[in-house]
């Protein structure tokens, strides 16, 4: 079965006055129909830039898609002109963002912002668009939607605003929804509601979702496959259960170790020492090497992607067949987040 989206060797550079930043380097992954794919990584690792590249939203100076392809519906997004991209945005591929407080226009009603989704991509009567807008609001679980249509964003709570964002994103039944940190700015209880909503919509509408987050709990709760990014590169790809039970990269190990646990007595919080590299002058070898407990001399050369198991990729020299060392095994049941 053909994947619905295929990113191949994507490299994105930003030319700033201080130099050229290598935001995304040689990133490849695919998204299958109906699947929920997670992209995990810390701030600055390139996950948002990748998402923006899929939407064609990288500002063209200073941004520059230096290499790679993004295949969708038989065409390459990186080569599309603005008019074609606009037809896709909000229509075939949609995106929701992190902060619902600021992502909605404060001086326009919810109704206006929702109906314009329909009116932009199809010619229909305003009343027809309004009806469909109300339906969308119902779908995302907003009570008394007719009243909400006439309200302004500041009159809704954070959770409701994020639901409105989801409604706008799914209005035209897109094939792909990209959710960039959708729950980060919300309270924990509201987070759970939004995650539930996204699961329901994925089941009912068969929308493929790319979920970007730095929160492993959210990823574990929602995704079937995960991509881990670090310093602009993919360093590990696996199914969720495989990743959590058998991580094959020291960074992933560190991430999982750093999640505080309630069921173990621990004296201190684990963290990964050090800082991510400066993307203005990226290191020549493995980007994680300075912070890696298992670093070897070989790590001064950039590691390629290895396949330690079926459908499991890792960018680490430890996975080389001739390597005598290996990562310790984590003692957790499959599918259970750390």
């Amino acid at each position: 079965m053909e994947p619905v989206l295929s990113v191949e060797n994507l490299t994105v550079l930003f030319h700033t006055y201080a130099g050229t930043v290598q935001a995304v380097k040689d990133v490849s992954f695919h998204l299958d129909k109906g699947e929920i794919l997670g992209i995990v990584g810390e701030s600055g690792c390139g996950k948002s830039v990748t998402a923006n590249a899929i939407m064609g939203l990288i500002p063209s100076p200073p941004g520059d898609i230096a290499a790679g392809r993004i295949l969708f519906g038989g065409s390459d997004i990186t080569k599309m002109d603005e008019a074609s991209l606009r037809r896709i945005r909000g229509n075939a591929i949609s995106m929701i963002f992190q902060d619902p407080m600021t992502s909605l226009n404060p001086v326009l009603t919810i109704g206006t912002q929702l109906t314009e989704c329909f009116l932009t991509h199809h010619s229909m009567a305003k009343s027809a668009a309004a009806e469909r807008a109300v339906q969308m609001l119902k779908l995302v679980g907003i009570p008394v939607p007719e009243i909400r249509m006439k309200q302004y964003p500041h009159q809704l709570s954070g959770g409701m605003r994020q639901r409105v964002m989801i409604a706008m994103a799914l209005a035209l039944d897109p094939q792909i929804l990209i959710a960039d940190e959708p729950t980060t700015a919300l309270d924990v209880t509201v987070q759970a509601q939004i995650i539930e909503l996204m699961q329901k919509l994925n089941r009912e509408l068969d929308t493929s979702i790319i979920l970007i987050s730095h929160d492993l709990g959210v990823i574990a709760g929602l995704c079937s496959r995960v991509v881990v990014m670090y310093a602009g590169q993919i360093i590990e790809t696996a199914s969720v259960s495989e990743l959590f039970s058998n991580p094959r990269h020291p960074y992933t190990h560190g991430l999982l170790d750093s999640i505080p646990r309630l069921d173990e007595a621990r004296a201190h919080l684990e963290s990964i020492e050090g800082q991510p590299p400066d993307l203005l002058s990226p290191p020549v070898g493995c980007a994680f090497q300075p912070r890696c407990r298992y670093a070897m001399r070989l790590c001064e050369q950039a590691p390629p992607l290895f396949a330690p198991a079926a459908d499991h990729l890792s960018r680490c020299w430890l996975e080389h067949e001739a390597c005598p060392h290996s990562l310790p095994v984590r003692g957790h049941k499959a599918g259970e987040p750390a």
């Binding site: 939407m55 939203l57 606009r86 037809r87 896709i88 945005r89 909000g90 229509n91 949609s94 995106m95 963002f97 902060d99 600021t102 992502s103 909605l104 226009n105 404060p106 001086v107 326009l108 314009e116 989704c117 932009t120 991509h121 302004y152 500041h154 009159q155 809704l156 709570s157 954070g158 964002m165 706008m168």
Partner: protein, 311 residues
């Protein structure tokens, strides 16, 4: 909204009181009274004047009398021109100033706003540099210097426009342009920085991600937000035009209220100075009040919740 409007209305009244009082205090702090400060007049004339203008009453009584008169709309007689009242002078010359001023406001808005928008949309490219360079010159060169330059170049040398008087539409061109220079420049800069700020906001990113074409993003999403600071500036804009009119009308010999004000300063005609100050201040405060209301109307956050907003 109603509460907000009431709030603003009360502030306005307080300001008017402060203005009237402050002006009154200032005028009466000229030592020895306005007439003795200037010339020596014979006793009998002084006596008449004192009685006529109630200058012998205790100060507080003069103040309350004055307040009472102001509320009735009577700004008193002119000190210098026996037969004319301040109200007469204002009634006669204000319409001219209003014409000139309105023209200047229109120029400022019609030129300044688009200039600012274009500069923002073409940031760091030549339209931006050009517009901003012009704008910086506009706020740096004082309007009376521009006025005299215009007269020299366009009236005296090129003879395209008249240098003085107010006898027809062509007489308005140079003064209006000189008067509008600073406000146009200020609005252009303000609009530019406001647009830039708005275009960097998250909801613009959302609008783009929905597939909206560029011009829709600008006029439906960005503009309304970006115009807010410009609306706030309308009050100071009109104030700048008022004060600018003093020199512009003087230079171009235009029979407006500004020129009368300036000559009343030369003549030390205290009631006129006092009266015109109160008039201008009151107008401005009232206009500011209207602008506040308009702003509140445009921003749904204030309109619906009286400025407090949810969470």
């Amino acid at each position: 909204m109603l509460q907000y409007a009431l709030n603003r209305f009360l502030s306005m009244l307080v300001v008017l009181l402060i203005i009237t009082t402050a002006t009154f205090v200032l005028m009466h702090s000229v030592p020895g009274g306005p007439f003795t400060a200037e010339k020596n007049l014979p006793e009998s004339v002084m006596k008449n004047i004192n009685e006529r203008y109630h200058l012998n009453d205790p100060l507080w009584k003069q103040y309350t009398d004055y307040l009472g008169n102001v509320v009735k709309g009577d700004l008193g007689p002119s000190f210098k021109y026996e037969s004319r009242t301040v109200n007469d002078i204002i009634a006669e010359s204000f319409p001219v100033s209003a014409e000139l001023g309105s023209l200047a406001v229109l120029i400022a808005l019609i030129l300044g706003i688009p200039a600012g928008i274009i500069a923002a949309l073409r940031q760091n490219r030549w339209p931006d540099y050009l517009a901003m360079f012009g704008a910086t010159i506009g706020i740096s060169v004082p309007n009376f210097i521009l006025a005299t330059l215009f007269i020299y170049v366009f009236a005296l040398k090129l003879e395209l426009f008249p240098a003085a008087m107010w006898d027809g539409p062509e007489y308005a061109v140079l003064p209006a342009l000189a008067l509008a220079a600073f406000p146009t420049a200020f609005i252009a800069r303000l609009m530019r920085s406001s647009m830039l700020e708005v275009m960097g906001q998250d909801f613009i990113r959302t609008a783009r991600a929905k597939g909206l074409p560029g011009y829709v993003v600008i006029y439906r999403h960005a503009l309304k937000n970006a115009m807010m600071p410009v609306v706030t500036y309308l009050g100071p804009l009109i104030a700048a035009i008022f004060t600018g009119s003093f020199v512009i009308e003087t230079i171009f010999a235009i029979p407006g209220l500004g020129r009368h004000f300036v000559s009343s300063i030369y003549n030390r005609d205290y009631t006129v100075i006092l009266g015109v100050t109160v008039f201008y201040s009151a107008m401005l405060v009232f206009l500011n009040f209207l602008v506040d209301i308009a702003y509140a109307w445009l921003d749904p956050r204030i309109k619906l919740d009286g400025g407090k907003g949810k969470q």
